[in-house]
């Protein structure tokens, strides 16, 4: 039992030591998060425009995007500096315009603002059939 406990503690310590993030990794993750939320806003706005998703639902996507981007920006800035937070900030700068368009019921303006957000950070698309290593 003692050997098992000791092994578990050693494994946990080794894993913890290995998992401190490099600034490059933080930058890459911030970019991925920004791209994913920009793609979500873009697809969501298109579907809201065509009536495939309801207004309350699209409103909650926008609210969630705002919260997540704010958190991501804060983390990226504190761990890797202003440059890492830049793509997140760029996408977040369009959220107010999208939210405003939703409140006015202006679907065309929402689509336009969401596309502008998506153009800031190109999405990293995962094909359905990803190539394994």
């Amino acid at each position: 039992m003692r050997v098992l406990c000791a092994s578990v503690i050693v494994a946990l310590a080794a894993a913890s030591a290995a998992c401190s993030k490099s600034p490059e990794k933080v930058t890459r993750e911030a970019r991925q998060a920004a791209a994913s939320w920009a793609a979500t806003l873009s697809a969501g706005a298109e579907w809201w425009g065509s009536g495939s998703v309801s207004t309350p639902y699209f409103r909650s996507i926008v609210a969630q995007a705002r919260t997540s981007l704010q958190q991501e920006e804060k983390t990226a800035r504190s761990s890797a500096g202003e440059a890492a937070a830049a793509p997140v900030k760029a996408v977040a700068s369009h959220v107010d315009a999208i939210a405003g368009a939703v409140e006015r019921g202006n679907r065309a303006a929402a689509i336009l603002a969401a596309h502008a957000a998506a153009s800031e950070v190109p999405a990293e698309k995962t094909p359905a059939v990803a190539k394994p290593q």
Binding site: A15, S36, S52, V53, Y57, A123, T126, P132, Q133
Partner: protein, 404 residues
């Protein structure tokens, strides 16, 4: 005819019981991030859970012991205390994730903050368990859970890449995001192995008075029910891979996951996703809350049955009455139901050996299962997968959690 009806009902309840917040969240996450590449994890995990469910049911049929009851008797009180604490902590977290799943489903269709729905969901849960019988709780939720078949229809609609999906059944390493890949793999295994499910299944067999004549039905129910359930989980992976990944959408919230249903179903997509998530999570939260009552009552030798009136098994009723508000409170305090879900599913994988190895001991003990003991294949396969999942969990959980 009656046997056929029972069998069909058993399979339907297994399908309904298979899917819960963990299965939906981890499958959606895997599909969006890695395409169909992680299907092999689902296939291996499902095979393993088929073995385990069949064993838990066989134990109940032959020995008329539930899993917890038998572990307490065979391994002693010290081991049982260890199991009790571990399962209490993990089950409370899973209960929080399931309640959160129902609340998020209501949020998706109304736009109202999910936290407002948490107390309403918790109260509805408690009322149903307090007033209902085992068959109402189990069969009602599971029959409604068949709405999750909409994931299969959606996948079919999108034209899945069958050939590539078959290739993905062979294990492969990731080409990117290694830590996320293995954390997701552990989450998928954890969502399949949920320890509460094994004891709930065995307790249900005792509630429904299964005996030796039900051994074949138990086997067919475990294999077909879990098999069909896995088909739904595979459909979620494929649907997510076909609709979210190609747009560059990753699943960081349920709002994003729900978008997978818009392409195949149009304006019905979000309501269908919300109904599937809500009903599957509500059914699972009934099972987790009841399992906590089973856990304490069977372990301490109290009166227990969902078919008794609460005043006939007061301590059994007290456990779920306390557990439900604690689970609800955890959702509100911890926030982000998706994060609670993925973390609790990974913890399931950590806890699995604590409950699986005593089960294997019991299933090889002539005193409990007489001539219905395990074959070597079942012992070796289940042990290997559980140990592997445990080891990956030990490495992947700190990597993912401390690494953010």
């Amino acid at each position: 005819m009656k046997n056929m009806m029972n069998l069909a009902l058993g399979i339907v309840t297994s399908i309904g019981g298979f899917l819960d917040v963990g299965a939906i969240a981890t499958a959606a996450l895997a599909g969006a991030a890695f395409g169909v590449q992680m299907l092999w994890v689902l296939a291996v995990g499902t095979l393993c859970v088929m073995f385990l469910t069949e064993m838990a049911g066989r134990l109940a049929c032959v020995s008329h012991h539930s899993l917890v009851d038998a572990v307490r008797e065979r391994c002693g009180f010290r081991y049982f205390s260890f199991l009790l604490i571990g399962e209490l902590l993990v089950d409370l977290l899973v209960l929080a994730a399931e309640i959160g799943g129902v609340a998020v489903a209501l949020h998706l269709v109304t736009g109202v903050d999910y936290r407002w729905f948490v107390p309403i969901v918790a109260f509805a849960l408690w009322v149903l368990i307090w007033l209902g019988t085992f068959s109402i709780v189990q069969n009602g939720a599971s029959l409604l859970g068949l709405i999750t078949l909409s994931f299969v229809v959606g996948m079919w609609w999108m034209g899945p890449p069958w050939h590539e999906a078959m290739k993905a059944l062979v294990p492969s390493a990731p080409s990117h995001d290694t830590a996320k890949y293995w954390f997701t793999a552990v989450g998928i295994i954890g969502a399949l192995f949920e320890p509460f499910m094994l004891n709930f299944y065995a307790s249900g067999a005792i509630e429904e008075k299964w005996s030796l004549k039900d051994i074949t039905m138990n086997r067919v129910t475990a294999v077909l029910g879990m098999g069909f359930g896995a088909v739904i989980a595979i459909s979620i992976v494929m649907l997510s891979a076909l609709t979210l990944g190609p747009h560059g959408i990753q699943v960081d919230s349920y709002e994003q996951a729900a978008l997978m249903m818009v392409q195949p179903f149009g304006s019905w997509g979000i309501p269908l996703f919300a109904a599937s998530l809500g009903i599957a999570c509500f059914g699972a939260s009934l099972q987790v809350a009841l399992n906590l009552s089973y856990l304490f009552s069977q372990g301490f030798g109290w009166n227990w049955s969902e078919n008794l009136k609460p005043h006939d098994d007061a301590r059994f009723a007290m456990v779920y009455t306390l557990a439900i508000p604690v689970g609800a409170l955890l959702v509100v305090v911890l926030g982000d139901p998706l994060k609670i879900t993925t973390f609790s599913m990974a913890l399931n994988a950590l806890l699995a050996p604590v409950i699986v190895f005593p089960l294997l001991i019991l299933m090889n003990d002539r005193y409990y299962v007489r001539e219905y003991r395990n074959h070597a294949i079942g012992n070796v396969f289940v042990s290997a997968i559980v140990v592997l999942a445990f080891l990956i969990a030990i490495v992947a959980i700190p990597l993912e959690v401390l690494g953010g």
